[in-house]
Symmetry: C2
Subunit: 192 residues, 2 copies
Amino acid sequence: MISSEELAETFPIICQGWAASFILLPNGSRQILSLLLPGDILSVGLLFGTRPNFQVEAITTVHYCTFDRNKFKQALRNAPDVFDRFGRICVEERAAADQLIVDLGRRTALERIARLILSLESRLEQRGMVQAQTKEMDFPLRQHHIADATGLTPVHVSKMLAEFRRRGMIELNERSLTVRDPEGLRRSANLR
Amino acid sequence: MISSEELAETFPIICQGWAASFILLPNGSRQILSLLLPGDILSVGLLFGTRPNFQVEAITTVHYCTFDRNKFKQALRNAPDVFDRFGRICVEERAAADQLIVDLGRRTALERIARLILSLESRLEQRGMVQAQTKEMDFPLRQHHIADATGLTPVHVSKMLAEFRRRGMIELNERSLTVRDPEGLRRSANLR
DNA sequence: CGGCCCTTTGACGGACGTCAAATAGCGTGG
DNA sequence: CCACGCTATTTGACGTCCGTCAAAGGGCCG
């Protein structure tokens, strides 16, 4: 786990493994802001030297590389296309945060979990991390990670996952997930 | 109300009045992403030409001005201090979104509403929009706005506001709010 | 074997949602 | 001026989703 102090000076990108950025509350409960996969920037905010408002936990062992903040900023200013691409990354990051806000504010437990699974599936697929035939993928999250990402309790997450399994929508064992009924899962995820 | 299509071509800043950016769900429920006060940029994402994922509603009558996107981008690249200041605005915007995520994921109705009021109070104070002696401020939100911002129902918001009033923490009438017991309100807002 | 963590399951409770009725304010139009 | 329709708010009764608590089992590692 990386403290917010250590983060303040670097600008890291995940190369391998899964991580999560989260905020801890005084009462001990936790809210995951985003799950970080290979290729993800830890946070674009780190470019501007403000001490970040979150912490990061490695879920698997993680490899990452860091850039020099000032050199990166110069590259942004000099190359308009880099600037634009970086801008679009910022926007996507923000759009994901907005979706999480809607999920937490207005969706049920089943919907939140279905959407989490679907969004992870699509992000992993973009990275070629889903087996082409079996549709199986690595899934290192513990149920408490799912709980902290969806604003639920681990106990309730367990019950909802059991429900998805009972309906034959997912298969989930020893750190591996396969979506058996994508259409059904999408239906569970959408309107309430 | 401004549709997402109309927004796509401009880069607007609120000059006067209150507005809200929000996402509408197919079932008709709504989640407010942020309340926009004078001086706020509608969304930094609009700089990069992606069609925004939200809509905007004027809560009062709103005056705003818009900038040319490309000229603004050039100014960012040419003036490092402008670039940095803009970056810091992005970061603050994101930090506010993160706080909302934590609120919706991990806090009770009373806490969410207390935090909404406190954050509005501090933002209005920064803008000199709180009367110095009486601590009174304009408060044009309807209860359904508060509900959509906190992920609650208008009925429950009404009950929670009644509770705050009963405890003598706030005074809220005809579009005007005064915080009577800031310390108590802060206690309600913090740990659960 | 014996802890420890994770997961599962059930019983129960509480926070918040839903539904409904009553009231007030406010603008419109007769 | 009054009737009316609309919207916002308040309040209470009741329902439900999810949290809490507890017990039990499994896997892993010392």
